[in-house]
Structures are given as structure tokens and as C-alpha cells.
Symmetry: C2
Subunit: 230 residues, 2 copies
Amino acid sequence: MARTYLSAVERREQILDVAQELFFTKGFEATTVQDLMAAAGVSKGGFYHHFTAKEDVLEALSIRMAEQTLPLIQAVMETPGLSAFERLNEALGALRNFKQEQADGIVAAFATLLRAENIVLYDRINRANIRTVLPVFEAIIEAGRQDGSFTVPDARLAAQAILSLGSMTHDAVASAIEARTRPDRAAANAELKRALAWQGVVIDRILGLPDGSVRYVTPEFVDTLLPVQD
Amino acid sequence: MARTYLSAVERREQILDVAQELFFTKGFEATTVQDLMAAAGVSKGGFYHHFTAKEDVLEALSIRMAEQTLPLIQAVMETPGLSAFERLNEALGALRNFKQEQADGIVAAFATLLRAENIVLYDRINRANIRTVLPVFEAIIEAGRQDGSFTVPDARLAAQAILSLGSMTHDAVASAIEARTRPDRAAANAELKRALAWQGVVIDRILGLPDGSVRYVTPEFVDTLLPVQD
């Protein structure tokens, strides 16, 4: 590929673009730095100017992906006149809408991430995600702690507890994605709905709310991401 | 090093022994397959007979480490005459005692695991741990779900929620370990105690119990692992 002259910032973004493409098609383990350089049309010197290793590209890519959702929940933070409880529901709704709108890309990404050989990629993206959204959830919970709507001793610890719950639905997500082209996909979707409904209840309980208070999933969420009808 | 003739099982264990030593001293990323072969005194053919790659050694090592705690909680499962709630407390107590008895080794292991370059090692061991203890916690919670002492719709999902909480105290553990030789170590220990106490409350709430029901940490636990007095 002929080399294109890009600014340093553009070049870095372009390397991340090809890394995103290759990590999600070939897989993280199977992609080499050589593959990244070839796909980006960048020299060894050019590559190592931006990144020290493939791991480093992964880290930057994870952060970039996590930061895509940040404006959505920041908009919720800036909406005036909401109670802390409403703000929490709106923030969860914004993340849910984002996933529904990007359904094809998200399902393809997860189908790759949940393969055993891509576990490193999955864990990195998950960590970057938690680190990125933590301050916003902490701020929402702190407002609710102060006005007495949430019964938690510490907003940061409560946000960490809630965000750490992602891994509890990992198996159900993996099963539903794996089953998405099989005849038993409706059953796998039903299992996932049950797991996500319970995750919502756990969020309620962590915040000291009655079961069913927080709107974590909607009835149509799973079937929008993983359609049962063709 | 002269090659020692070991059975296939002994050889595999020995490779895991040197891997454990090297991963926790040099670090996972910095250790090469060449390093492992040299330290174990095993040929390339001998190494690849047992493992396909360094990642594969890590996976096996993570499972071996996780399985060390299994007999402890299985003993609790076999203790007759305990209620589900007592069994849960005993199982948590067995894991806590194990950590206290192995304090030096555990702190050294975590000091390595929590370094940014060993994040892959940390995530793998954490996953292997969860996978290993999940069936036991599920069985305990199922007994309590049936006798009505725990209010959860599904024991497996409840166990997954509780075991996924480990990552919520990750930062506090890392800070306390980092501070263990510094003058401000008492403050870092106090933060960790607060985080662990909250983790115990979250377990209560997930199970539908009043705050403070489950004995997740003891007052002396953190100071036993990370002594404030020399």
C-alpha cells in the first residue's frame, strides 16, 4: 500500500482504525505488529513512534472505544431538573440506546471478544469502559446519596460495585451470541433476559432501592440486538 | 542445568512451578518461553509436548492456583448440620483464613499481579478462581434459596453476582499493597477495610439479607495481611 502523509494525530488514529478492523476479524492474538504496519501502510519507525507494542495499541483502542459512549452519559449529566434516580435511569437508557443503534457492530464485536483467544482484548476493553464511565456514575450516585434516595455509605464504592457486575452476565451474553443463528436462539435470548433482569435487581439492592426500581433493561432490548425472527 | 528425568505429570508440574516463580518475579510479559525452558531444564520438544504457548502455561497455572482453595471450601460443604447462612459464612471464613495463613505469599503475588504490565496474569487468575469456586457458592446459595433464608430468583446468577464483586475492591487492594512500606500505610489499610466492609454489605443485599449479616471480613484481616506495625 502506498504511504499516505498524515499528521501524527491522524496517523495514530489510522493505526487504531486498522487495529480495530484486524483485532475484530483476525482476532487479537493472531494479529501481529507486522500486520498492523502493512494494513496501515506505515513503516516500522512510524509505528514505533506511536506505540511500543501490540499491547499498547490494544490499550489505546480500548480507551478510544470506551470514550465513544462518554458524550451520551455526559449529556444526561447536563440535563437540568432530573432527580438522581431519574438521572441514573436516563444514563442507563443512553447506554442501552447506543447498543441498540449500533446493534450489528456490537454483536460482531462481542462475537469476537467472547472467543477464548480474545479474552485479553475483552478484559482490556471492559476495564477501559469501567474506568471511563466510573466518574459519571459516581457523580449520579453521590447526588442520590446526599438527597437520601440511595442508601449507600460511599458513592465511588457503590459505582464500582455496580460497574463490576458486567462479568456476571458474561456467560449468558456469550451463549446468546453463539446461539444467534441456531434454532434454539429464542431460549438463549430468554436466559439472557433473565440474567439482565437480575442484574437490574442487583443494582436496585446495591443502591438500597426496592426490587424493580431501576430500568436496566427493556423487554425488547435483547431481541433488538439478537433478533429471533429473520 | 542438567536435565532431570521426570514423568510427564511431574514435568508438567515442574514447568508450572518455574512459571509461577518467574511470572511473579520477572513478571508475565517479561518472561519468555525460552526463560521457562531454561529454568525448568527442559528441551523445546519437552516444553511443547505439554504447552502450546506461554499463554497456555498461564491458563494452567491460574487453574492450579485456584484449585488450591477448593478443598477448603469443599470441607465446609461436607460439614453436617450447618444452615445455608452458616455454611456461607464458613466458606468465606475458610478463604479468609487461607489468605491470612499464606499472607506473605499472597501479598507478594498481588504486588506483582497489580502492576500494569501483569494485568493479563491478574485477569486470568481471577477468572480461573471464579470458575473454580462458582459451583460451591452456587450450591450453598441454592440451599438458602430453597429454605427461604436468601431472597434470590436463581442461585447461579446470585453466585455470579457475588463473585464478580472482586474487581470493585481492586483499586483499594492495589493502593494498600503499594503503601505497605510507606508511612501512610495505616490510612491505606483503613481505606481497604472500608471497601471490604462495603463488599460484605453488597453480598448481604444481593442475598436479600439485612446489612451486616454476612461476615465477609474480620477487624484484623487487613492488618494481618499488611501489618502497620513492624
